[in-house]
Symmetry: C2
Subunit: 136 residues, 2 copies
Amino acid sequence: MNVTHIEHIGIAVKDLNEAIRYYEKVFGFKCYSIEEVKEQKVRTAFFMVGQTKIELLESTDPEGPIGKFIEKKGEGIHHVAFAVKNIEGALHEAEGNGVELIDKAPHKGAEGLDIAFFHPKSTFGVLTEICEDKKY
Amino acid sequence: MNVTHIEHIGIAVKDLNEAIRYYEKVFGFKCYSIEEVKEQKVRTAFFMVGQTKIELLESTDPEGPIGKFIEKKGEGIHHVAFAVKNIEGALHEAEGNGVELIDKAPHKGAEGLDIAFFHPKSTFGVLTEICEDKKY
């Protein structure tokens, strides 16, 4: 698998606006985008930190994945996403190496990326995303 | 606060050697260092992914911070660390902005970095480290 960098870290928060204010005030980051991803039942906010993004995730539905995560574990780091070349090949290779895939094929995520998740039970507890920006 | 990049992501694991094998096999990362940090009661393993490190953390003592974390929450992402310039100034500034500090002053962490932690109850659930490499 050809991983170039950590594309983003996803952080589950209860109140997106409050969390944005915290990251802007304490760290001096600038939120450059707020986007609703209806399929995932989230509102997201992005900051660039070096070559990696911080993606804040607020649930728009208590039954969505972020709503359930916060109910079970509280606010906090939700997932890590690795930028890959050839996401279809990377998924195939990961499955061959024993990774349990949540997504057998990539689908569209925030910022127009092609994304897919690995199940944390096969990744030592880390909800892991791989993603590819097909625009480049 | 002058944050240059995400220095590392800390991941709590039960078995360091098994987790190293997973990251090497599935992602093709190379573990370049294994280090025991006695003060933190952990054995750590490092991989470089772009400009950010993955730091795996295995507890050497069930009563240590990683042992307790795994008992309470299971394996998974434990903390995120931001590389800063002037860690003493950054701590002072964060405290002035309402962050509750676990460490009022920096101390030595893995790889010889000066490190300090923010308490997750003042950071929307994210155990947050800031660190500075004084060698540069």
